[in-house]
Point group: C3
């Protein structure tokens, strides 16, 4: 009909004629139940799992964080071949600034009075000279630093090193505490928070100490407690050193629980304690204090420091309602909903007794041109 009218009307027909599929209604409770039940299961999945459990309707963003740490506590050592000595944070905490990785010295090998200009014990400067110097000096003349056993172990094929004793110098370090201040930002969601929560007052902060049960929000941690929560023994770890992770998880749902967005602390040893291959154990580094003698010569005290490096690792993603992920997930769910009729069709055409009846009334075979005349007429009769 549209072809008989003008071009414009033809276009109107083309654009605005609404084409809707013809349907066959099957008034069978059984079929209907299978259909609705499958729809219900899918809806349950979408609402229950995708929305409630996975929160797939949310935009996500990773945390941006800044950490300052402050170690407190001090120790007193009174070992036979060393003068009684106090150790405060300045002596054992390296570097001193207190950023997200701090080192607490627990053991050391000290070699004082080194000069860098010559190495008298070794006639030829070889690649192991400095290390051997240290070690030979340490061996021959412990000179009151008391921690070096004087035993030289083969460290690698070319370098020797001096092993410390099996007890740590600063055993008291386990009672040091560290205050961790952590501010986080989710820039996309304009959300800022710090781990000193608003209900913590100075009185509480003066006395509290982190404990998962009794003080889960206190940002002050006793080193021994951290290490033992990580499943390690502080005194064991103190001898050879190690790396311990303080993991702060800021994963938050900013739609409903923005006010309940709290940091979750976990502790984990980050270097292997007993790796299968038993290599590259512990954690230590060397540093020196440089002095100038009265004669103007530069001498240094070499310190091989063993201790625990604490790495504060802040991670987490925040989620907040976003239109794109919502659309994407709803769309995917809708796609599956559009599968349900296929499933129901398959069910009625395969499993039902009346499947031939359904099949006959649902599907029509194409009628060839010659027969079409009479047939298309009977088709419409059949559907009444």
């Amino acid at each position: 009909m549209s072809k008989s009218t003008g071009c414009c009307q033809g276009f109107l027909h083309y654009a605005f004629d609404y084409e809707t599929p013809k349907t066959l209604i099957i008034p069978s409770i059984r079929v209907g139940f299978v259909f609705r039940f499958t729809q219900f299961l899918l809806l349950l999945y979408v609402v229950g799992y995708v929305c409630v459990v996975q929160k797939a309707y949310q935009d996500r963003e990773s945390v941006i964080s800044t950490v300052t740490t402050k170690v407190k506590g001090f120790a007193f050592t009174n070992i036979s071949n060393m003068q009684p000595r106090f150790w405060d944070v300045v002596d054992y905490n390296i570097p001193p600034q207190g950023d997200d990785s701090f080192f607490v010295l627990t053991n050391m090998v000290m070699t004082p009075g080194q000069t860098q200009s010559r190495c008298p014990e070794l006639p030829t400067p070889s690649t192991t000279c400095v290390d051997d110097c240290d070690c030979v000096e340490g061996y021959n003349d412990p000179r009151g630093n008391g921690i070096q056993t004087g035993l030289c172990e083969n460290y690698s094929s070319t370098v020797k090193t001096c092993e410390p004793t099996s007890f740590s110098l600063l055993a008291e370090a386990e009672n040091f505490t560290v205050l961790i201040k952590n501010s986080i930002t989710y820039p996309k969601f304009n959300f800022h928070k710090r781990n000193i929560l608003s209900h913590i007052n100075s009185t509480y902060l003066k006395t509290c100490e982190f404990n998962r049960q009794t003080h889960p929000d206190c940002p002050i941690f006793r080193l021994k407690h951290i290490v033992s929560e990580a499943g390690e023994d502080f005194q064991d770890m103190a001898v050879k050193g190690g790396v311990l992770g303080i993991l702060i998880d800021w994963s938050c749902d900013l739609d409903w629980w923005a006010r309940k967005c709290y940091p979750k602390y976990t502790f984990r040893r980050l270097d292997n304690k007993h790796p299968v291959n038993n290599v590259a154990l512990g954690y230590n580094f060397r540093f020196a204090k440089y002095y100038r003698t009265a004669e103007g010569e530069e001498v240094r005290t070499l310190i091989k420091a063993y201790g625990i490096r604490f790495d504060v690792i802040v991670f987490g993603t925040a989620g907040k309602f976003g239109i794109v992920p919502t659309i994407v997930n709803l769309g995917a769910a809708l796609s599956f909903l559009s599968l349900v009729p296929m499933l129901a069709d398959w069910f009625i055409l395969t499993c039902m007794k009346k499947r031939d009846l359904y099949s006959r009334q649902k599907s029509t075979y194409l009628v060839e041109e010659s027969e079409a005349e009479s047939a298309s007429l009977s088709t419409t009769y059949g559907t009444q």
Copy 2:
């Protein structure tokens, strides 16, 4: 009928017979308009919001970055009880290497001449000995370091500390500048860039200073300017210290604007200035310089350093066309498009005057077997 022929042909029919829904065409402008308009709205959403605004067709990757910083400037102090003294970057910048977190000392409490071996003022070494030593010495004998007021405040229940005066020592620090060099990489997209853009020449770099209006690309920042953009007062912050974030946002669209991928700088104080609970304010740490006396005894000068720690935080995600997100988002939009006919059907069967007419011609009730005989007879005839 395909069943009457061979198995192979039956399979061919099963696999290649094309089954297409029968449709009813409703030549109503009103229905057609509702249908097309809804389709148009959805398309607008897909093209406009998902593609243009959210760029959901893009793969995303987080930035990998490296930062070096270099502070310049120096100060001159001439305070009553201290010798006139110059301060250059080596004295106030800790640590000196200039990585993504640098500290500028603005105030200090200095306690020279400490020995770690004994604490004469206190007969019994208690847990607060070292701190009290410092404080008592500072109190009794300010010894020309001039910054310590000598007042002892209760810092916590067990530890006392010495408060500095309310004006900062290095007030001139506000005029220091810092050059920030930042190179970034998006490894998945093989995109590299640095914040010293290619149009910046050495002449410009010698004279420029970051200013959001006049010099938005200059990587040299005056500390006072950074602090004031963060909404703080430098002199206020200098007394007790603080942490200031220099946030560099490298979010870029690498499809169209790869050449316009510029860093965006923002500044934010990262520790709370006036937290509700008023605890753990400011930023300070202690460090020591170790000396050896002519007699070979080790002494140290303890410095409690107050200052501003600047954390350069680089973040951002780049997006570039990716086939998977495109497919996912188009697919989701298509799912919604497939909802439009349902909506239109609901509209014509509920809101239109002729709804009964439409309903009768669109849907057919299943005809039971008994009646089916005659009816389905004509139907099946038709399919022959």
Copy 3:
């Protein structure tokens, strides 16, 4: 029909009547082939590209990592105007702790004996005094540190600096090695691993050296090798300094290849060697060693250190089967599958010879009320 019965039954009908589209079966191999082939292409895309190549069925998480580094090796310098001197890790590695960014000093300008209290050469303390002091002293009296040429270059309009010679002091640094220990975690997948793989034993670790072909798993790197893999020349880089990235990629498929999750090392210079604008080249910083003279005066040795900063950058995402991304991607693919019938319909109604036949039997025009009675009989006529 349902309206004649009670309300409850009406609802039952409404809820459980199953409405299935009536279909027309076209037994044409050609149409069927087009239909099935398009379906097959889409399936191929879904299985092949989305699942196998892009692994879009996986949940993703970014790596959390901790790094410790240990530099080994030492150098011997015997330059005319300086005493023969040994350099070990303590002297050239700054900071000493060995975290993910370490600096190896290769060149330096040393200015000993500075006092901060006065600047005799300059009568008026100007903003460039300290720097000028250094430079003038260096110029007039190289005083045996041997590295300073004594030439003063214009560094910026207000500050002068003293350039080092064009050969590096610690040329031997290229043979230093660094052991990188890197532990990673994917917290969501509870996956932990370190870069010292389980098949590496201590014997191997004592002798191995990273080489992409022969020792791809050895975590010990010769500095020269790192720099040359990054496409740079160590001696060139050593003079003015630079920043070199050691990129460790931990991207892993934890579904199938969790045991084959190995780190992949790449090396890249992170500062521009020859930027277009030729500004802000190299890497250096100043630090000082503080001494006290016999008279108790504090003096410092100022060192301008040139060298290579090595930044260990750990990145990567792990993927593991996740129900939500699977559903989303399958859903999107299904949406496209639902497009295939539209495509096939368009094909049969446009490109086929019998398109009018198909069209007549597929679509029926709405018949108006008045005619409807007789007409549902003549529906198909109307479309002819």
